[in-house]
């Protein structure tokens, strides 16, 4: 079984601050991990992925994430945050070779200008 937990339903911060959105996962083998973003009223867009190799991965829009096997986490980071980063962010896990993704419930980020 595989699962993803995003413990923060809402995060609010000021423009210019550093943002870090938390994601933890449960999976017995090596996971593939992803972040997607959903802007208000829109569909989901791919941000970045971790498959193997470097534990810090960079994605689009200035985001990066760090894979930490020791505590089963894959946190999303960006500095500085901009008001246009306000959106809902989803962490997802793919385990095994069946191409099925499990998504977390998402974190709604509000960046105040």
């Amino acid at each position: 079984a595989q699962s993803v937990d995003q413990p923060d339903a809402h995060v609010t911060l000021s423009e210019g601050a550093s943002l870090e959105l938390r994601c933890s996962y449960s999976y017995s083998a090596a996971p593939y991990l992803f972040w997607y973003v959903q802007y208000p009223g829109q569909s989901l867009q791919f941000l970045l992925k971790y498959i193997t190799g470097d534990t810090v991965v960079k994605g689009t829009k200035g985001f990066e994430a760090e894979f930490r096997k020791s505590n089963s986490s894959f946190n999303l980071k960006k500095s500085p945050a901009h008001w246009s980063d306000s959106a809902k962010y989803f962490c997802a896990l793919e385990g095994g070779s069946n191409a099925k993704l499990t998504f977390g419930k998402g974190t709604k980020l509000s960046v105040k200008s």
Binding site: S43, L44, Q45, K49, K100, F103, K105
Partner: protein
């Protein structure tokens, strides 16, 4: 430019009616997905299709079926819709490890 289309974008049906949601992609991707998104629940996988006539259940397949007769099209069918199937439905196709999502269909079942 990678594009996934969904029709219709909005749909209102009465309980017990049949529903057909269509998804198309012009990228010849083999793998396609249907998800539903409900407030506070994230995205839940309904079905995955690995290619024509090669479909597999996701996490919540009950009450749904799918059809994929051409690689470019993937349909989601609700036979006798229920009120708890009111949701936003997203289709996606996959290239490599990345999924490309359609704009979504907002379905209301009264």
């Amino acid at each position: 430019d990678m594009k996934v289309t969904q029709m219709p974008r909005y749909l209102i049906k009465r309980m017990g009616e049949n529903v057909l949601l269509e998804c198309g992609q012009d990228m010849s991707h083999e793998t396609m997905y249907w998800y539903r998104q409900d407030p506070g629940l994230g995205l839940q996988l309904i079905y995955i299709s690995y290619d024509v006539d090669s479909n597999s259940e996701g996490d919540i397949p009950k009450g749904y079926r799918v059809s994929r007769k051409k690689r470019e099209h993937f349909s989601l069918i609700l036979d006798s819709a229920k009120t708890n199937q009111t949701s936003v439905y997203f289709c996606a196709s996959r290239q490599g490890y990345e999924q490309y999502f359609g704009p979504g269909t907002r379905l209301t079942v009264l």
